[in-house]
Symmetry: C2
Subunit: 131 residues, 2 copies
Amino acid sequence: MDEPADRHTLTEKVRLGELFSVDCPSREVLKSVSSLWGVLCLISLRERTLRFSELRRSATGVSEKMLAQTLKRLEEDGFVLRHALETVPPHVEYSLTDLGLQVSERVVALVDWIELNTPHVMAFRRERAGP
Amino acid sequence: MDEPADRHTLTEKVRLGELFSVDCPSREVLKSVSSLWGVLCLISLRERTLRFSELRRSATGVSEKMLAQTLKRLEEDGFVLRHALETVPPHVEYSLTDLGLQVSERVVALVDWIELNTPHVMAFRRERAGP
DNA sequence: CAGTATCCCTTTTGATACTG
DNA sequence: CAGTATCAAAAGGGATACTG
């Protein structure tokens, strides 16, 4: 189900120079999905629906501006659903769409690997920097 | 084999605010691996060893400067191996290390999904932008 | 609370030219 | 060929103040 073996494979596209041609929208999608704040939002929202302020705390270090911008983009791309309750004070909930859940699975696989292997990377860096 | 179920899960870390704390080196690794040129290099090198100029053609639109910088970083992190033949003119070959092959698998899974689903994203964008 | 608007600084990136 | 050096342009990002 993950193998679209009936059409051009990814490596084939790379060889043909078809992958991510300069004006390809895929590059934009990759950017929003793999940016630091994009990643953090997608991962945080996997567990449950979160409010703006909760997301802010999840993504340590993010500014309001960046979070708003990131969420807007993820919403425009159909990855995140924004649900605003008409109350005072405002209460807005963000959750993943089906599409968002799907990407987030790939993103988690990548981030999980990175989390697990960053120690190796650090050790490697120190080795080659050392005496 | 992909489930480190015996320790903190990713979502747990997110809840605890442990994931990607501001000064965490994982963020750096994520950046080099998920940057546009990083992604393109990793994917291109999966198929076979490539020379600098070949990589340049693979990653359409990359400048020499960015490619050199990206490769240097991937090399420092232990993802890419640089093999320079002492000839004139110079001949340098880049290939993936074991570690590089591992990340690239996760990266490919993500990019493959994006390639396949970008049409949906585009359609979604048009819909909500429409009349 | 959940943003938007503004200002301003820093980092990234790209073009171009040059070198071993 | 495989880079480095340099400069200018652009994007990214933070702090603060303000609004519905």
